[in-house]
Point group: C2
Chain length 350, copies 2
C-alpha cells in the first residue's frame, strides 16, 4: 500500500541502499572503537539481532586503524563516523571502511574535501552527508520555524560540494530531535533530490520516549515512501535500536522478520493473566527468524475473530486455554498447558 | 506547524473533544468494573499520570451499576464500553456515565438503538462509534486490501443510523492492528466526515512493539492534523498507556506536560556513563508537571550546542560535569555532584 519514492542506488560493502533495495536497519556502536574486542562483540550481537550496517566513531587515528582488525572479524558493512579531520576519513578508508559519514562543511578547506572525495571515488566508497539540527553551519537560520528549511539548505550545499567534485555515491540524513522538524525536512529534501536517505531522529532520549519519537518520525516518512535505510537512536544498549528498527519496518509491512505479536489490552472482560502471558510468549519466541504472527488475546469470544489474520493465536477464560488458527478455535487445553501446546504447534508450523 | 482538521465539538463530562479543544489523552481500566475499590484506585493513579478521560468495560448489569459509586470517587469523565446489550447502555447512563462507546450495528434491532439514542440525546451524552477491523459486520469485505475501506464504510453506516435518529453527539474510531490500514482508514474518514475522531491502534501488543505501532499510527495522523483524542492500547499496566499518549503529543508539540528528555545515544566519543545518567534524570524529574526540557548529553564539545534549545542540560567528560543553558556552559562541577547541582538549578527554574 506504500508507494516508495524513487531514488538512486548506492552499494555499501555489498548492501544496496536506495532504488528498489530493501529498507535496511542500521545502528552505531557505543563502544570505544579502539577497544577492538569489545567493539567486535557488540557488532556480532547486533548482527544476530538483525543489524545490516554498522557505524563506529572515529575520533582519532588509533580508532581509524582499529577498523582494519574489526573488519576482519565482522560480517556486516562498516561505516566510519568522521568529524573535522579529513585525515581520519582517509585513514578509515585505507583500513577498510565501507562508507563514511561526514559533512564536507565541517571538514573545512576544499583541498581537504577533495582528497577525501578522490579516495572515496577511487574505492567506490559512499559518503553520507549527515546534517544535524544541532550543528548547522553559521549563516543558516537556527530559529525553530526555519530549522527544517535550514537542514535542507545545509544538505543541498554539502551535496553540491560533492557533485562539483564529480562524486555522487551519496546518501543524506537530515536529523533533528524535534520530530515535526525532521519530518518536514525529509519531505522537502525528497521533493527536490533523488539521493537515497538515511532516516533518524537525533537525541531521541531513553528507551520509551526514544521509541515513541523515532517511530513517529520515521514511521510517517516511511508511510510516505521516504526512507532507504533507518537508524533508531536511543540512549540505551544499541541492541534495542536494532530491535526497534525492525519493529518499525514490520509494523508497516515493509520488511518481515521473526515474531510479530498481536495482543489486546486487557479489559474488565478478561479473566486470565494476559500481560504475563503475552510477555512469556514474546520472550519464548523472540529469537525465531522466520516471520510469524502470534496473537495473545484475552477472551475466546472476541479474541479469535479479532486476530483472525494471525498465523496462530491463544486465548483463555478462567482455567481454560484455547489455540486458534485463521480465527477458528482448533484446540482446548487446561490453561497451564497453553504455552507448551502453542510451542509444539509453532514448531509444527515452522 | 501542524494544521489541524476542522471538526465538530462534543463535550464529555466537561472535557471537550474536537474543534479547537486540546487533543486529549484517554485510557481504559483493565480492572473488573464491579470491583469498585480497585477500579477507583486505578482511575486515580491514571488521573495523576495525566489521563483526561477513562473508559470502563460494562459486561453486565452489575458493572453498569458500579459506575454510580465509581463516578462519586473520581474526577475525570467516565465512558462506558458496551457490547451487544442495549440495556447495559441505558443502565450505564442512568448511573452517571458521561459517554458511551458502542456500535449500533452490534446492538441489533433498531428499536433498541432508538432507546439508547433517546436516553443519550436527553442527557446530552455523546456516543463513540468504535469500529474495529476484527469485528466488522458481515457483508463488508474482510480482505486485507479492502480493510481500510470496510472500516470507513462500517463507520459511515453506523453514523447514518444515529443521524437518522437526529443524534449527532458522535465521535468515531476506526481501529485496526495493522498500522497502515488504520492510517488509511482515518485519512479517508477525515476526508468525508467532520465528526471528531478518537485515534487508536488496536491489539498493538506488549510495551515496546505496542509503543512503536501506536506511535507510527497516531503520530502520522496527528502530523496530518487528524485526531481529537487518543488512546494508546498496550498489553501492559494502563499507566503506560497514559504516559505514551502524552509522549506522543509532546513529541509533536501538540500538548505540553512535565519532563521532555533529550539525550544522545552514546558513541565512541563518550567518556561518561550516559545511559545510567539519563535514566537517573528521567526518574528524578518524571513527576514534575510544568513543561521542562532537560538535555543529557555525552560530551561538552557537541552536547551544549546540539541541545541548545533545552531549558537546561548536563554533559560530562571523564570526572567533570557541566551544566548548560541555551547552549552555553554555565557551571562546572565534579561529575558526582552533577545531578544534585542540576536538581538545585531546576528548582530555581520552576
Amino acid at each position: 500500500m506504500i508507494k516508495r519514492r524513487k531514488t538512486g542506488k548506492i552499494n555499501i560493502g555489498g548492501v544496496e541502499i536506495g532504488g528498489n533495495s530493501p529498507v535496511s536497519v542500521q545502528s552505531m556502536c557505543n563502544t570505544d572503537t579502539r577497544d577492538i574486542r569489545t567493539t567486535v562483540n557488540q557488532i556480532k550481537a547486533m548482527t544476530d539481532a538483525g543489524c545490516e550496517l554498522i557505524r563506529v566513531a572515529v575520533p582519532d587515528r588509533c580508532a581509524a586503524e582499529a577498523i582494519f582488525e574489526i573488519k576482519k572479524q565482522v560480517k556486516i558493512p562498516l561505516i566510519a563516523d568522521i568529524h573535522f579531520d579529513y585525515r581520519l576519513a582517509l585513514e578509515s578508508m585505507k583500513n577498510g571502511a565501507d562508507a563514511l559519514r561526514l559533512n564536507p562543511g565541517n571538514i573545512g578547506k576544499r583541498k581537504f574535501i577533495q582528497k577525501v572525495v578522490n579516495e572515496a571515488g577511487q574505492r567506490e566508497i559512499p559518503i553520507r552527508i549527515g546534517v544535524n539540527a544541532g550543528s548547522l553551519e553559521k549563516g543558516l537560520s537556527h530559529k525553530q520555524e526555519d530549522l527544517a528549511d535550514s537542514l535542507v539548505e545545509s544538505a543541498m550545499r554539502n551535496v553540491r560540494v560533492l557533485e562539483e567534485m564529480d562524486f555522487n555515491l551519496i546518501k543524506v540524513s537530515l536529523k533533528a530531535s524535534d520530530v515535526t522538524t525532521m519530518v518536514i525536512a525529509y519531505r522537502k529534501f525528497a521533493g527536490i533530490s533523488d539521493y537515497p536517505v538515511h532516516l533518524g531522529v537525533t537525541e531521541a532520549g531513553t528507551l520509551k520516549s526514544g521509541l515513541i519519537k523515532s517511530s513517529i518520525g520515521m514511521g510517517s516518512l516511511l508511510l510516505d515512501g521516504i526512507g532507504d535505510t533507518i537508524r533508531v537512536s536511543l540512549t540505551e544498549n544499541p541492541l534495542e535500536e536494532v530491535y526497534a528498527g525492525w519493529e518499525i519496518l514490520k509494523a508497516l509491512n515493509i520488511r518481515k522478520r521473526g515474531l510479530t505479536l498481536i495482543s489486546c489490552p486487557t479489559c474488565g472482560r478478561c479473566t486470565i493473566e494476559l500481560i504475563s502471558l503475552a510477555k512469556q510468549v514474546e520472550e519464548k519466541f523472540k529469537n525465531i527468524k522466520k516471520p510469524l504472527t502470534i496473537a495473545v488475546m484475552g477472551c475466546p469470544v472476541n479474541g479469535p475473530g479479532e486476530a483472525g489474520f494471525a498465523d496462530i493465536g491463544i486465548c483463555g477464560a478462567n482455567d481454560e486455554g484455547y489455540i486458534f488458527k485463521q480465527g477458528k478455535i482448533v484446540g482446548k487445553v487446561p490453561f497451564d498447558e497453553l504455552i507448551p501446546r502453542l510451542e509444539s504447534e509453532i514448531y509444527r508450523l515452522l
